[in-house]
């Protein structure tokens, strides 16, 4: 592949993101601008920004790679990534906006009136964020290695540095513009190549006949029930706890706008995921030789040049590289913003300077982890982060919004249970299933049993601690569920 195309595309996206970031800096001066863009962001902007932030390396590269590698089981990933927003709409969007909290730790502290619950939540948010950034940096390493021939670490380092600089300089206000821009860039970067490839290939004989490219044994008829159900639990519920997604809901003007934003996000994601899916199908038919675990994630980067050699292929390749970098940058910067918010409020006094220091820390810890480990498939790693989030932050959030009886002890007990169980399954799964091969699926997709156990422990511990129900619980629930208009109209 022509390395000049790779360099050009990567530099162009980096410069464009930085320019929009610094343009935003001029309107971002107060502390509240830094944290939540002063709550003036409109639903379409906000929805584009959520899409921009959410569509990570796993969505942009990972899904097509996994379809190529494993077949139709991979189609469940985009379904889960999208339907997670349905759960967010049904149970979280409007109440969370009405809570008036900035971050999940703010929410738990205000709801449970406990600094302890806040501390535990903060630590979990930071762990989730860091482990979510790692696959982004690994995706960047893969992209740089495949497209420029530079050593892989250069990609991870470049993304970490750009993100740290842009976030520390601009805060959330500028990030909203950057994210919205990057959603549309990512969509264009997949849609245009898919359309051009389909037009150019019309009638061309594929590398494999359809019956071999799409065997029924890898098709929807061959459903692994436990794995699919557990993956869906992780993706549907994990979305509820993602710190970088939730922080976006505070930028809606009110609860009704938060709901409208969520529906728009669903539509945007549904349209977006058609294209990685199409890439995956094209890959199975035309590039089956890429189906090796190391290279499958690069399918989207390699396919245009391979199917249409020449200038058209070069332009399409530049476009997908740009889109991929937009994915790494936007997800990482969204995560760094929310992590920096949490770290600076908890440790550094909540000042703008503290936010900047925290942004740099939040970018470099995952960089170290990414450099020290090797990618095992982008969609899969992000799926595991969802399983961890679903087992830890999601039960507390759901019960905090809907159940008056939740107590600080119950919340902490549930979060720790979920963290220990899913953390053990994710980190120690390979070692344990070497001894006990029978439980391998339960460790590889833990959410189906870790989430119910975490909820159960939360409820039982809260029940045992009835006197621990916060005094302000009723007032807080009222605030979460009563529409803003009714609050304003009430006589003071």
């Amino acid at each position: 592949m022509n390395a000049a195309i790779g360099y050009t595309a990567i530099v162009a996206v980096a410069v464009a993101s930085a320019l929009i970031g610094f343009y935003g800096l001029r309107v971002s001066r107060t502390t509240s601008d830094f944290y939540v863009a002063s709550r003036t962001v409109r639903p379409w902007w906000n929805a584009s920004a959520i899409g921009g932030e959410y569509l990570s390396a796993a969505s942009f590269l990972g899904i097509a790679g996994l379809i190529l590698l494993t077949g139709s089981a991979a189609l469940w990933f985009p379904i889960g990534y999208t339907a997670g927003y349905l759960m967010l709409l049904l149970f979280v969007a409007a109440p969370l906006r009405r809570s008036g909290a900035y971050t999940i730790p703010d929410f738990t502290e205000a709801r449970l009136e406990s600094v302890w619950a806040r501390r535990v939540t903060s630590i979990l948010v930071i762990v989730v964020g860091w482990f979510y950034i790692v696959p982004q940096l690994q995706g960047a390493a893969l992209t740089v290695r495949i497209t420029t021939g530079l050593p892989a670490w250069a990609g991870s380092l470049a993304v970490a540095v750009i993100v740290a600089v842009v976030v520390a300089a601009g805060g959330m206000r500028s990030i909203t513009f950057v994210q919205a821009f990057q959603f549309w860039l990512k969509l264009t970067a997949l849609a245009v190549p898919v359309v051009v490839l389909l037009l150019a290939l019309g009638g061309t004989e594929p590398a494999l006949p359809p019956v071999e490219a799409f065997p029924a044994t890898a098709g929807p008829g061959d459903l692994e029930v436990y794995r699919t159900v557990s993956l869906m639990v992780a993706l549907l519920l994990g979305t509820l706890g993602l710190p970088h997604v939730l922080v976006r809901f505070y930028t809606n003007p009110d609860g009704v706008a938060a709901r409208r934003t969520t529906v728009i996000v669903l539509v945007l994601l549904s349209v977006f995921y058609l294209f990685p899916t199409a890439f995956g199908f094209l890959g199975r038919a035309f590039a089956p030789d890429l189906a090796t675990s190391g290279d499958a994630d690069a399918l989207i980067l390699l396919l245009p040049d391979r199917l249409i050699p020449g200038p058209v292929g070069d332009v399409l390749t530049a476009l997908v590289i740009a889109g991929a970098f937009a994915a790494f940058l936007s997800t990482s910067s969204g995560l760094v913003v929310s992590l920096a918010g949490v770290i600076s409020q908890d440790l550094l006094g909540g000042s703008v300077r503290g936010f900047r220091i925290a942004a740099v820390i939040s970018s470099f810890v995952p960089l170290v982890v990414a450099l020290a480990t090797e990618s095992t498939g982008l969609a899969g790693s992000v799926g595991l982060v969802f399983a961890f989030t679903a087992s830890t932050l999601c039960p507390v959030l759901l019960l905090g919004i809907w159940w008056r009886g939740l107590t600080a002890r119950g919340a902490v007990a549930g979060m720790l249970t979920g963290a220990v169980l899913s953390g053990t399954a994710i980190l120690g799964g390979a070692a344990i299933s070497a001894v006990l091969p029978g439980i391998r699926p339960f460790l590889e997709q833990p959410a189906a049993w870790t989430v119910p156990l975490a909820v159960l422990v939360t409820v039982l511990a809260s029940r045992a601690d009835r006197r621990g129900v916060p005094r302000g619980a009723d007032a807080f629930l009222t605030r979460l569920h009563v529409p803003e208009a009714a609050r304003r109209r009430r006589p003071v």
Binding site: S32, Y35, S38, R39, T40, S72, L75, I79, T82, A83, L86, M87, L89, L90, F91, A94, S99, G100, Y102, D106, F107, E109, A110, E113, V115, P210, A213, F214, A216, G219, P220, G221, L223, V256, V263, L266, S270, L274, T277, F281, A285, Q345, G349, G350, W402, G472, D474, A475, F476, L477, T478, R479, V482, P483, A485, A486, R487, R488, R489, R490
Partner: protein, 132 residues
């Protein structure tokens, strides 16, 4: 008219919200700063609020279960009709295409219906509390 600076109803003004600090507790998230706006002022108000919360929770659960059941039926239908594996559209089996595309319209439909129903519940709550 649009230049009138007093038009705050249509265009919400930028709200300055300070970052809460741990220890001093999430100040902006505390349900206390505007007396009378959050805490139920009477038993009747509390009953209305609790009934609103229950209604909204039931609505969310019904829609979530509906979505999961509909998706499961859809997937089982695909899995148990082998003809779909043998029918090719643009070189891709129909079963793969249906699984890759079919669930999204369902999710969007459920979302749209939910937003209408949830807003209706809130409107009913508002009309109840105004009658008070």
């Amino acid at each position: 008219m649009s230049s009138d600076p007093e038009r705050t109803d249509a265009t919400p003004a930028r709200v300055r919200v300070t970052a809460p600090r741990p220890g001093s507790a999430a100040a902006s998230a505390r349900p206390s700063p505007h007396p009378g706006t959050e805490a139920p002022t009477s038993d009747i108000a509390g009953v209305y609020v609790r009934s609103l919360i229950r209604t909204q929770l039931r609505l969310g659960v019904v829609f979530a279960v509906g979505f999961v059941v509909a998706t499961a039926l859809f997937v089982l239908a695909i899995a148990f009709v082998p003809e779909l594996d043998a029918t090719f559209v643009l070189g891709v089996p129909l079963s793969w295409l249906l699984l890759g595309i079919g669930v999204y319209p369902l999710a969007i439909t459920v979302a749209g219906l939910y937003v209408r129903a949830a807003s209706r519940n809130e409107a009913r709550y508002r009309s109840l509390t105004e009658d008070e």
